[in-house]
Amino acid sequence: MTENKPTARTPSRLQDVKKQTERVPLIRRNAFVYGFLAALIIYAVLILPPSGSLTSIFQMAVVALFVLLCFAWVVLILTDELKPKWMKTVFAFALLGVFGWLFYRYSEAQWGDMIFLFFNVEIIQKAWPTLTKGFWTTIQLAISVAVLSTVLGLIIAVFRSFNNRILNIFIIAYVDFFRAMPIIVLLIIIYYALPFLGIRLDAMLAGIIGLGLNSSAYVSEIFRSGIQSVKKGQIEAAHALGLNAMQTMRLVLLPQALRVVMPPLVGNYVASAKDTALCSSISIIELLKAGLSEQSLLANPSPLIFSTALYLAMFVPLTRLSSVLEVRMKAGVRRINV
């Protein structure tokens, strides 16, 4: 009974561990790391095939094994909690550098002509008027689609929240139809099939309607979940004060739903703005089509690269905004759930 009681004379159970720390290991863990590095360098210098295309399976296997070993070496470092953080960072980037170097060495691309082919200022200057026009067309499309889809989506979501069974069937059918329909198919049907019925739409209008209908289905779902996220007690409190259904929606539900809805809504605007590139298939000369047609006209892909850069310049800030809003909403969600 008394044996289990710890006394001053009880020897520490950590004695074994203490002995371990006193022992000097034959090969320290750093030695492994440096040895491995040396082996990799020797491998690269002596065994790796010269630059150019990899013709035989043997050569490919040698490169693949080298990549695998590099990868293993970096994993060895990254998983070692005793290595300093800066070392892990440096080696992770070094790995990326090695992969890039291997691609550069064996891909047979004409890297020397890259500036002339992709970043040719002269060509871009020639293509400039078409590209800016395409850029504005894309922006017009994106904004029109955002406005149309918001209006439609909000109306649908409000109707949906009244929970009328028959109305709901139509709304669910609408939403499912446009979510299931590939956008490009929808655009092509509106632009190329409807004229047979006598419905002739201007390409721009067809694009806005097609993208807007598609996006409105998503927007309505976003608004619906936003409205549903407001607690039931809020509706009861509003009703108990004598507010009617419309006033409850306008004064109590929507203001609270809007805060929840902002991040996914901005995300959805970005998505549908990116989808404007699909309008190039119905003869709208937007940013992608402008870049593509200038590329074939001038026999140089620089305009296309420039279009890409413009897309990124437009959408990277917007996706960033969406993330920022999300963080803000998570901070503010406490207020909503009071």
Partner: protein, 249 residues
């Protein structure tokens, strides 16, 4: 039986039934509430207290029976229930303040949008009510920055801003920390002395003894017993009531 002056009957409930699917929650409630009465509704949980209260302004749709508020049959399909609700203020267990509005905006919202009074008038009324509940300095504060007791007092002020004839309280202190119950009950007691007609679902014995003119004891969907607080507390007639009181006293 009918000793009340009919003019002063604020709410009359006749054979009120409520089903939730197959669950029979209210099994024929009959009662009258007259002007300036403070009626406390007590009973075991699940006995139908809250459902009873919520049926009286049709937050819960009654299954059958009649409810007259100031002589108006609110079960009639022709009435605008929102009009009736403006005459009945309601305070909830979980406060249900609007989190996107400040305390003052919470109070002003319904008078401005339902009663269509001007902004200045609503602000004026709002500050008076904030004085009444002792929270003038919190006018421009959002609900999340207020304590539970403060939130509930704002909720009372919000209900009073519609200048209702009747006030309903659905367990107003049940979600509060003990030290905050007093401040809410004090506001309610003041209202009672001012002659407000009140229906209070609560188990705050002190408040009921002090302010209630009548106690309704609801259990298993039936109005088991009613009477003055002293009568019910000191001399309960039914076993169900005795049993319940022995547990909470």
């Amino acid at each position: 039986m009918n000793t009340f002056d009919t003019k002063d009957v604020m709410i009359e409930v006749i054979d009120l039934h409520k089903y939730f699917k197959d669950l029979h929650v209210l099994k024929g409630i009959n009662t009258k509430i007259t002007r300036s009465e403070v009626v406390a509704v007590m009973g075991p949980s699940g006995g139908g207290k809250s459902t009873f209260l919520r049926c009286l302004n049709r937050l819960e749709e009654p299954s059958s029976g009649h409810i007259f508020v100031e002589g108006v049959d609110i079960m009639s399909p022709y009435i605008d229930i929102n009009k009736v609700r403006t005459e009945i203020g309601m305070v909830f267990q979980s406060f249900n303040l609007f989190p996107h509005l400040t305390a003052l905006q919470n109070i002003k919202l319904a008078p401005m949008n339902v009663r269509k009074i001007s902004d200045e008038e609503a602000t004026d009324r709002g500050y008076k009510l904030l004085d009444k509940v002792g929270l003038r300095e919190k006018a421009n504060v959002y609900p999340e920055q207020l304590s539970g007791g403060q939130q509930q007092r704002i909720a009372i002020a919000r209900a009073l801003a519609m200048q209702p004839q009747i006030m309903f309280f659905d367990e107003p202190t049940s979600a509060l920390d003990p030290e905050m119950i007093g401040e809410v009950l004090e506001v309610m007691e003041n209202m009672a002395t001012e002659g407000m007609t009140m229906v209070v679902v609560s188990h705050e014995m002190g408040f009921i003894r002090e302010a209630a003119s009548r106690v309704l004891f609801l259990a298993d969907g039936l109005l088991v017993e009613e009477g003055a607080p002293e009568e019910i507390f000191n001399n309960p007639q039914h076993n169900r009531t005795k049993d319940f009181l022995s547990k909470i006293l």
